[in-house]
Amino acid sequence: MEVKGNSNGILKRISGPVVTAVGLNAHMYDVVQVGDEKLMGEIIRIEGDKTIIQVYENTSGIRPGEPVVNTGLSLSVELGPGLLTSIYDGIQRPLELLVEKMGNFIERGVTAPGLSHEKLWEFVPVVRKGDAVVAGTVIGEVQETNILTKIMVPPKSKGGVVSEIKSGEFTIDDVVCTLDNGEEIAMMQVWPVRVPRPVTEKMNPDIPLITGQRILDGLFPIAKGGTAAIPGPFGSGKTVTQQALAKWSDAQIVVYIGCGERGNEMTEVLTEFPELEDPKSGKPLMERTVLIANTSNMPVAAREASVYTGITIAEYFRDMGFDVSLMADSTSRWAEAMREISSRLEEMPGEEGYPAYLAARLSEFYERAGRVETLNHESGSVTVIGAVSPPGGDFSEPVTQNTLRIVKCFWALDAKLSQRRHFPAINWLNSYSLYLDTLSKWYDENVSPEWNGLRIWAMEVLQKEAELQEIVQLVGSDALPDEEQITIEVARMLREIFLQQNAFDPVDTYCSMQKQFDIMKAINTYAVLAYGAQKLGVPPTKVITIAAKNDLPQVKFMTDYKEEITRINAAMGTEIGALKEAYQK
């Protein structure tokens, strides 16, 4: 990052979060201090001597004539030990520190560094004097929480030979490594948020991100390094789904951006995450999490920045070789922040008042996802899952449409389903995943060779049901042919047993791939038996009402379910076998 030197200007006009200054030696996206209270802002337009600045804090009471100072720096985040478990606002100010500094309400003009510059961290070197290092090389490790984070040579370093490397306790600013060309390396890196961090190469995403959610892992999987959108009208369970993903996905690091959402909801995340256990390590989930909370009533410009702050932090962990999943809730609020700033700038609006560069900004953001070969030649990934809140549930609006052109997974939430208390309320007919082909090999090798076939079968049954339902709506279910009555029943089982999942039940909230397979297989077993019996002339009502399958839903709530599911499979066989015999005679 270049420092272009300070320069001073004077405020000329204030209109909400957008202010105009004159006399600045300005560069686009430089960070400036506005007014006597030194509010933080960013240069977003230059017109002759006039500089237009978006301010990250409330501007009320600020007057023309007050000073403006250009720091010459871009909006950047501090990256290093101390990020994990942190809770930031949109511009990486730790919320906990802000409470200490200014009380329960967010006041303004208070700066707070993103990382503690006093805290000592135990630095364990992994390179020795005389080793050659390049940008991205891991030079040491810090046991931050239960996660061992890496200290890397900064991406812009020219590299060289290590002439001195230290070991022991240091602050993030202390030099821990010196190269032969005189370059000094500390644990902290500073990186401008609007610039993607460099990688060696982007790789194909061919490993699934296991989420423990049956409808996602089972029908619409996402790859590590992939992109997904969850659009849904309010009240359709978007936030619950996002939170379930943050809790259960098998990424090592989770970055959760609450962008323009509810304060109480953020608090729920803040209080819940430290108490929840990571299903794999048994440690609190918070230890692998970075939270960014910029609620809807916090300044709109900081909301615009929060998404970039989050993804830069995610990229930093990816560079260490971790799989990171990033949740952005909600990208619509982010787009609205852009719209608001754009309209204050009196820019020519595009569709529905959104700026014409909306599509470009969205695709730039999602493109920062991916599975990559890092500069250190390891593999790491950032998976981006963005919530979209379409006004009135109308998917044709610009934010949803522009997002759909970019992302590969679409998990369509449906208010109708949530009204029926079908959760997660993801519509199986409208959703899709474009990762099925690239991931099928993984499922063959790691779950069962039968898995891909079962999934296709399940989707066919559900599709068929949708068609049959149209007929049922007109003539009632009794008018259907026998075979199709069974299809309706099998589809019902798929919906109620496989697709519905209770996020609030301690067991059902996470379902392993093996259990998903076993449940799906049991439903399939029933289907095969039922069609077989029906062909021999057993009336469908008899086949549909066998008692054995009524126990199947309870399997979802059992930890040791294996025995029970084997028993149910056998009992279904016996019961249908008896029916067949009775009707053959």
Binding site: T59, N104, F105, G392
Partner: protein, 459 residues
């Protein structure tokens, strides 16, 4: 204080003043008309050669000869414990003939955002005595739950019934009601005031009234005054405050009016692009703070134009608030009070406030089961219209009957009927007992054996 006589342009509620000393953004402004009348306004845009002022009252009578005084501070609200029991105008002036408020404090009405880290998660169940809220869309302390209604529906009665009956069971803490009316009719005002007086609620209430014939622009500050008062009562004096804002639709209309006067680029349906942020700055002023005793719970009423839940006002509100109670015209036509349609209604904080130790261990599952059964029964009504009841299977007929029972027995209740949560849940079981037991797939067997009337009688 210097007085300017340099008004250049007056457009609707806005006046443009030329060449001033530096004036702060959002500063309070006094406008002195030629006849001596003083009106108040606020700076919307300031630069070194002109200032745009939004006048909170009618601009009638203001001419280029009016004087403009900039007060040098943002709008502050005098607050005091003595405000309880008072009736104030939409601009915060006494309207009940009583003395001026002697301020204990003067607070900025903009209100700062509560740091999410300082918030406490709402978890205390509030019993409103209305089954469709308590059992199926539970309200908790510190929540913001709007009532989405339509013109001509009894939303005011519902709000009043909630204000009258809402209690945290077993709690004797101080409570207060802050009531802010924006653009309601005189008749509606009378209805509210009569009820407050009848029940003695006025003693615990602060009332802000901006009536339909008061200036529309004043509606921009009315809710802010009310919320500032509520925050003071809650976070400094330790009251549990219920804020009722009605009608948010009128507030949004006023917002649009100002946007248009400023010639802003409009967003959807002509409402300003910043309406989400603006509404959030009101709705988000609810909640609890760690270590402080009081709480602010918000119940805002909005009438959806054309009963359209996708209208920008309802839509943006729904994205900010923690759920919504939807009042339905069809139920109202059937003569059911309160005509709350539970299907699109939702309380996002419900799960925090229910369950063992709070309400009852069966609460969540019973609710889910009722929702599912009612939704299915309700869908079947469409089918019945085509094929007739006889063509339905036995199962479907039961569900259809369930839907009717649900509306007539569970939803319907009296204006003064105050059901406890136990009453509501037991009633739910009574209705569920009309369904075959194997249909109750969402309730585990343990709970069925504990609460199902069939087993209860046996025991």
């Amino acid at each position: 204080m210097k007085e300017y006589r340099t008004i250049n342009k007056i457009a609707g509620p806005l006046i443009f003043v030329e060449k001033t000393e530096p004036v702060g953004y959002e500063e309070l402004v006094n406008i002195v008309q030629a006849d001596g009348t003083v009106k108040r306004g606020q700076v919307l845009d300031t630069s070194d050669d002109f200032v745009v002022v939004q006048v909170f009252e009618s601009t009638a009578g203001i001419g280029r000869d009016a004087g403009v005084r900039f007060t040098g501070e943002t709008i502050k609200m005098p607050v005091s414990r003595d405000m309880l029991g008072r009736i104030l105008s939409g601009a915060g002036k006494p309207k009940d003939g009583g003395p001026d408020i002697v301020p204990e404090k003067r607070l900025d009405i903009g209100g700062a955002a509560i740091n999410p880290y300082a918030r406490q998660s709402p978890a205390d169940f509030i019993q409103t005595g209305i089954s469709t809220i308590d059992a199926t869309n539970t309200l908790v302390r510190g929540q913001k739950l709007p009532i989405f209604s339509g013109s001509g529906l009894p939303h005011n009665e519902i709000a009043l019934q909630i204000a009258r009956q809402a209690r945290v069971p077993g709690s004797t803490e101080d409570f207060a009601v802050v009531f802010a009316a924006m653009g309601i009719t005189k008749e509606e005002e009378n209805q509210f005031m009569a009820d407050f007086e009848r029940t003695g609620a006025l003693e615990h209430a602060v009332v802000f009234l901006n009536l339909a014939d008061d200036p529309a622009v004043e509606r921009i500050i009315t809710p802010r005054l009310a919320l500032t008062t509520a925050e003071y009562l809650a976070f400094e004096l330790g009251y549990h405050v219920l804020v009722i804002l009605t009608d948010m639709t009128n507030y949004c209309e006023a917002l649009r009016q100002i946007g248009a006067a400023r010639e802003e680029v409009p967003g959807r349906r002509g409402y300003p692009g910043y309406m989400y942020t603006d509404l959030a700055s009101l709705y988000e002023r609810a909640g609890l703070i760690k270590g402080l005793k009081g709480s602010v719970t918000q119940l805002s009423i909005l009438t959806m134009p054309g009963d359209d839940i996708t209208h920008p006002i309802a839509d943006l509100s729904g994205y900010i608030t923690e759920g919504q109670i939807v009042v339905n015209r069809d139920l109202h036509r059937k003569g059911i009070y309160p005509p709350i349609n539970v299907l699109p209604s939702l309380s996002r904080l419900m799960n925090n406030g229910i369950g063992e130790g709070k309400t009852r261990d069966d609460h969540k599952k019973v609710t889910d089961q009722m929702y599912a059964a009612y939704a299915e029964g309700n869908d079947l009504r469409g089918l019945v219209a085509i094929v007739g009841k006889d063509a339905l299977s036995e199962r479907d007929q039961r569900l259809l009957e369930f839907a009717d029972h649900f509306e007539n027995r569970f939803v319907r209740q009296g204006h003064d009927e105050n059901r406890t949560i136990e009453d509501s849940l037991d009633l739910a079981w009574e209705l569920l007992a009309t369904l075959p037991e194997e249909l109750l797939v969402r309730i585990d067997r343990g709970l069925i054996q504990k609460y199902h009337p069939k087993y209860r009688k046996e025991a």
